[in-house]
Symmetry: C2
Subunit: 363 residues, 2 copies
């Protein structure tokens, strides 16, 4: 089998500094475990706009289609707020998702024991929390047409369209059921079927797919109640499946429950390629955090755990993924902390690269 | 001035039993404070469907347009899940909102001192919390056309449309700024302008309206970050203004933060009528809770506080509203609790009507 290929897009803000630590880890795997990757680095978001005038160059897009997996840091920053909608940093990210057809966005919300105190929620509500949110990522109101700002009479009207086909719903539902089978066999689907017809279709298709997974306990919840239940008693959930927009909001809400935002990775998966691997992009859940960028303060763990997800989902290296995750747990248990996690006594504060080094030492 | 008129729609589930306590309070005001209301009772939701085959009869709709204010309990229940979309209990509620043009939905998220321990959040994160969410209620994806489930090729497609005109955004923004002026002079507007053109227009119009309120500190946040920030540090907010769908989710999230879901009222306001009063409907934030309906367990306070909001916003009786709110605080401070709030030691458990009686005694 040829050397697996990776396209690394560090992006903006803290993206480059957290990704630098991932690169160290990748190098370690090449040297110590003979697990080599063919790595290409390129630009996305504001960084790409600065060089090319667009947030993702066509050559970068083409490269993303070719490689076995993409690792992305983060995009966006206040400097780019003034840009036209069509060239904002986010458009680069959305183009990758859409053109690679990465329909299933896996967002684990996990509360790390050593960090449960950082949650704004009571410890018993979140300790041991381990949810997987599966968010549809290539359709819905993010991409539906018609869209835009038009003029009607003497005023402007802003329009976006939520649009879901049965097959779009079915494929992400299947991905969620497959995950549920490997986890706690419990799936909750969230929509607003009481208000939106697209939610009615969503619920119907999830019910249809459920017939093929009789072992999975399925429930349905309105998304507003879902937000409430996530805050009230998040441990009632195992796998949650929901659409693009609800997934955006609910997964951020769930991520914040854990108190470990700097710790949470994500995987965006598409259909299998010729080599059997799914099209895939991996990125931390946190944003580009422009306020602390370039200061060595950022926590690289979310980005490193995103690479662990790549080992597991793209490269069939579940054992190596577990090795990396275990190393991270050890480092945290030893009290090594970046600035986002410093409230405890008796911890050792480290910089972004200090954290990367500590993880490599633990490997 | 003629006797002010009220249309009371108890609805489904716990609606009738919590509304019965409001009726007691209304009677008390008539007898003891000579504040009389001309009250009509009618049906909405499943209760209306059972009698009329529709979740809101035309005569009820006509009556709602005539009265000075509507009080609504709650709608919905499992019995009605099988009904066609067009006659589901929720359609009755949505028809009232739309035809009365109640564009500004005021949802206070307030943490009551005596109840801060009920929150799943740490006490210091929520104690003293007092946010007002202003949700646009008559437009957006709830009502936009085209909508429905169509067939394209050999599959079905679910479609909903988000649609906001400048004037729809402007009027709810003005309502929010006016409230901010009476409160902490801080307003945060939430949308997804990084992804949706309707969000771009939303942000632009809010910025325009802001020029007329130079004293109000305005900020803008993406709705996903808004959900995060509500969980992380809700006290950073004073007034939040957002669209119909984001408002649905974010206000439920905010309500749950307080731990006092059975305590939260809401007001839905429209344009002024000929008599100067705004078109108005008042309802508790909680739902119909079919699991405890008819057992005398429900907490009537949210519904009673909704009547207090009616006193304030519809009937210019701010002092009487404060009297009622103070009575409720006293009862809670005395340790009187319905079943939803029983974890503390040294409290006196009461039924729904026991709570109503205690509040009247405190008045
Ligand atoms: C950056 C933005 C376009 C993106 C989204 O809305 O999907 C982000 O919030 C996310 O969740 O990945
Ligand atoms: C019952 C339902 C239609 C309603 C809504 O979605 O607006 C409810 O959730 C609310 O927030 O008042």
């Amino acid at each position: 089998m040829s050397t697996p290929s990776l396209l690394i897009l560090p992006g903006d803000g803290i993206g480059p500094e957290v990704m630098a630590e991932v690169v160290k880890i990748i190098d370690w795997y090449g040297e110590k475990r003979d697990l080599k990757f063919d790595v290409t680095m390129d630009l996305v978001g504001g960084a790409a706009y600065d060089k090319h005038g667009v947030p993702l160059a066509d050559e970068t897009m083409a490269k993303a289609q070719e490689v076995d997996a993409v690792l992305l840091g983060a995009v966006g920053g206040p400097k780019y707020d003034v840009l036209d909608f069509s060239v904002k940093p986010e458009r680069g990210l959305l183009r990758l998702r859409k053109e690679m057809d990465l329909f299933a966005n896996l967002r684990p919300a996990q509360c790390f024991d050593a960090l449960a105190d950082f949650s704004s929620l009571k410890k018993d509500v979140v300790a041991g929390l381990d949810i997987m949110i599966v968010r549809e990522l290539t359709s819905g109101i993010y991409f539906g047409e018609p869209r835009g700002i038009i003029t009607e009479g003497n005023e402007r009207v802003g329009i976006n369209t939520q649009r879901y086909t049965e097959s779009e719903i079915r494929r992400v539902a299947i991905a969620a059921f497959e995950l549920a089978m490997k986890r706690g066999k419990k799936l909750c689907s969230m929509e607003k079927a009481n208000v939106m017809e697209s939610g009615i279709l969503w619920r119907e298709v999830v019910e249809e797919v459920a017939k093929d997974y009789p072992e999975v306990a399925v429930s349905h919840m309105y998304a507003d109640n879902g937000a409430m239940q996530l805050v009230r008693a998040p441990k009632q959930f195992d796998v949650i499946v929901t659409d693009n927009l609800f997934g955006d909001i609910l997964s951020d809400c769930a991520a914040m429950l854990t108190g470990s935002l700097g710790m949470l990775p994500s995987a965006s998966l598409g259909a299998p390629m010729e080599n059997g691997r799914p099209k895939a992009m991996y990125e931390p859940v946190h944003g580009s955090a422009p306020d602390i960028a370039g200061q060595g303060k950022a926590n690289p763990i979310a980005c490193i755990l995103s690479f662990a997800m790549a080992l597991r989902y793209s490269f069939d290296q579940g054992d190596e993924a577990t090795r990396l995750e275990t190393a991270i747990e050890k480092v945290l248990a030893d009290g090594v902390r970046t600035g986002d996690l410093l409230a405890d006594e008796g911890v050792t504060p480290v910089s972004t690269s200090g954290m990367g080094d500590a993880i490599i030492a633990a490997l």
